[in-house]
């Protein structure tokens, strides 16, 4: 293959990755606006944005490997971070939403279940704190 062709192919490849990545990134945010309750909305960024940014990072890796001497793979690190953290973030947000009994279009799980998970009922129980607070050494 000629260098021109390589260049073209790499460029097309990178361009594609960029378009896919940007597209999914947008999709993730679009879901935020379009979907109708918090729990639904939680699905899109975790998935779409990780993939979106993942593609972009691959694009970057390919681009810099091609353009500069040596292999450029440090983008992987960002992807690793995102892949580890995004689901945890989503989980914690969902937890917070359930704790607040944030309304869901399909209804929330039974209150008893939520209480079991969260440790409190829908009504405030001011005495709950003292009993359940684990006594930790200072």
């Amino acid at each position: 293959m000629t260098t021109e062709l390589t260049t073209l192919l790499v460029e097309i490849f990178v361009a594609l990755l960029i378009l896919i990545g940007a597209g999914f990134t947008l999709l993730g945010s679009f879901g935020l606006v379009r979907l109708r309750d918090l729990y639904e909305r939680l699905h899109t960024p975790t998935k779409a944005t990780t993939l979106g940014v993942g593609s972009l990072l691959i694009a970057s890796a390919v681009f810099f490997t091609w353009r500069e001497p040596g292999v450029s793979l440090h983008e992987v690190l960002v992807a690793v971070f995102l892949f580890i953290t995004a689901p945890v973030s989503a989980h914690l947000i969902a937890k917070a939403a359930l704790h607040q009994r944030s309304p869901s279009r399909s209804g929330l799980p039974p209150e008893t279940l939520l209480e079991k998970h969260d440790g409190h009922g829908a009504k405030p129980r001011p005495d709950a704190e003292t009993k359940q607070k684990p006594s930790q050494p200072g």
Partner: protein
Amino acid sequence: MTNLPLIVLIPFIGAMLPPWAVMTGRPWSAWVTGGVALAALALTIVPGLSVMQGETLIWQLDWFPALGLSLAFRLDGLALLFVLMILIIGLLVILYARWYLAEQDPMGRFYAYLLLFMGSMLGLVMSENLIQLLMFWELTSISSFLLISYWRQRADARQGARIALAITGGGGLALLGGILLLGEIVGSYDLSAVLAAGKRIHADPLYVPALVLILLGVFTKSAQFPFHFWLPHAMAAPTPVSAYLHSATMVKAGVFLLARLFPALSGSEAWTWIVAPVGLLTLLVGAYNAFFKHDLKGLLAYSTISHLGLITLLFGIGTPLAAVAGVFHIMNHATFKASLFMAAGIIDHEAGTRDMRRLAGLWKFMPQTGLLAMIAAAAMAGVPLLNGFLSKEMFFEKTVYMASFAESFWLLPVLATIAGALAVAYSLRFIHDVFFNGTPTDLPRTPHDPSRWMLVPVEVLVVICIAVGILPSLTFGPLLGIAVGAVLQAPAPDYSLKVWHGFTPALGMSMLALAGGALIYAIRQPLFRWHETLFGRIDARALFEGFERALLWSSRALDQLIHRRSLQFMLMVLISAALVMLARGFWGMPITGSATLLPIDPVSTSAALCLAAGAIGTVVWHRQRWTALVMLSVVGLIIALAFVKLSAPDLALTQLSVEMVTIVLLLLALHFLPKRTPRESSLPRKLRDLLLALLGGGATALLTWAVLTRPYDSISGWMLENSVPGGGGTNVVNVILVDFRGFDTLGEITVLAIAAIGIYMMLRDLRLDVPLTDDQGRPWSSDVNPLILATFSRLLLPLALMVAVFIFLRGHNLPGGGFIAGLIISVALVMQYLANGIAWTKLRLSGELHPLIGLGLLLVTATGLGSWYFGYPFLTSTHGHLHLPVIGDLELASVMLFDLGVMLVVIGITLVILIRLGRIGLVQRRVAIDDSDLKR
């Protein structure tokens, strides 16, 4: 000559002795004090004799030439006259006080103050330098404040002292102004120069202001109308003090100054038209009031005012002969008034009261005192063959002389006669009401003549009154002559000191006054009633108090208005001030410059939109604090993005890290604060704030625009050029931070360290209620550390540490550095706390974090100091390449140690702050619902 400063110095040094002497025994303090005065008197003899020969002695030592202040003393006739008065009457008062003071009165303190006053007075009258004179002048005010308030437990003493200090001290300040103007006119504060510059002074436009200011000093000190009212209230002082200060010394300081500056200031219309009327008015007001006072000392006080008015009037008339009369009356008044005060003191001492309505018929009990008082009072009344008669005669003569000048001046002798008559009347009252006028009823004590030594001083003075009255030219004559010469700075005019001048108008006036006085006294009862209805309510002290209250009230009102102790007010003022200054700076100047600008792109516009949304969102939702915090973090993120976009990766990294820590910090704090802000600003207030905010925003926007549209040239070209050769790094920002401007960074981490220390200090014993529910009343989830978070945060820790090392090591050449690395490590560790709790994490973090701060600081400083060893200034860096086998080229720079120190400090302080803050809730779990939160 060297005696001159010693005369002044001795009392000051001596003032330290009485408090010591009193420990040996009370009388000792009196003898020591007397010894001090005697020593000063002895020192006066030799120079005094020279002065009597017509010499003027001057002793001078350069002190503060730039100010025109020298230590300079002068002994001429006038000064000698006063020195003798101060010392001799002082001695008599010392003797008198020895017997006067009660057992419980601290005698050492009394004599110390007295000597302090004596020294000040001596310094005043002997000053050759006007600023020095003023210093002594104010010292007399202060020492008299101490003397008047000697009986400090008495409210009237405290108040009297304060009034006296306010009036005389204030006058002193005016005098200071006058003297400074005078010095400006003459070009010197030396008295000799000033006295010789009369013509120049009169011609100068500053003459009148200077004169007025100086006269203010004179009038206040000498209790001239309308400043006279402090004197009666100073009578709360022990009587020896009154005898000393209010007859011969303190109050005479004012007329002394009139005499002293006579050649320089007198002889103008302004002089005559200010001094004479004030003197006349004072003469009359004083005499009038003296008659109506029921208190013996009150009577004497007003009489003093009146006589001081007389002297002032004489100087105001301004002729040489008037000056002679003035000086003569100074001497006479001192003798009879001092003796009268002492007599009054004896009466008070023995009878237990000074109220003439209670006193009567004391002649039977204390004939010696009575006789002495009678003679002295007669002198005061101007009875022939006593000294008071002579000077009063001279005064009457001058008024008649003045009346010949203008048609309307006929009033002058008339008023003088009336004043004379009043003097006769109050003198008569002093004698008759106290010693005769029936028998005493219900006196606190049974009076009798005092101890022998208490009478001696009075006797001495009364003898002088008589001697001068009969043989004026043989007694006071010579001293008067040279004193007048000194006053006029010219040979004294021809005057005759004789008892009998023949039948002159003055004699007629004297006789009229005697007769009139007797008449007035005879009809005193109806006069008292008339006075009571007319002026009974006028009380100078009440006026002064009223003035003081008004002053206090108005200053408190103003204070409330100005100093509201409201942060919002302070900030409003500060921001407004900044705006005014910016506006002033910009006024009339072109805003936009000529530089070429960068185009706008959609990404930046969108980012700006986010920024605006975040900022405005923070404002809009500032009542829902958590939401505001979320909005704020958008702003932080966009700022970081802007830094990235605008070629500042280091800044972006720092901004992101700091932002993160700040948000965590604010969340930690928010837990203990109300989650919502009540609505409490009124609409006008909000509008005002909005206006201020918009103006402020507009101003900074304009400022930014103005700068950005201008081309410029900066020193950073040098930094780009020298970064590699000089600093050994390609990341110029980092090289600036750790090398070119490493000193800033040292300061910056010092700030951080101090902040941490301060925070540590504030968090100790901090007690805050831990909310048991969120702001919606929901109790907290019991899942303290969600498992999934805990698991993954632990996984993240080594990764984050790796990244931190990476960022640290490359900082010198690529974006990064110790600060950012430190923050990453901190955040990674904070993450452990977030996910696993304090107890769990603390177990696993080795050692204490606080020492990191100190160690980091030490490392940074030590790196800086290291360059001293090689003979270079603080913080001089070194760098180089180390060639190692296998590993290859290793770049080393001393600044890495510096950066490591920075990193340690950052880790230390971030963790100390965040963990300490987090622990409040842990340590401090008080089970109570936060009421204030629930209410909202």
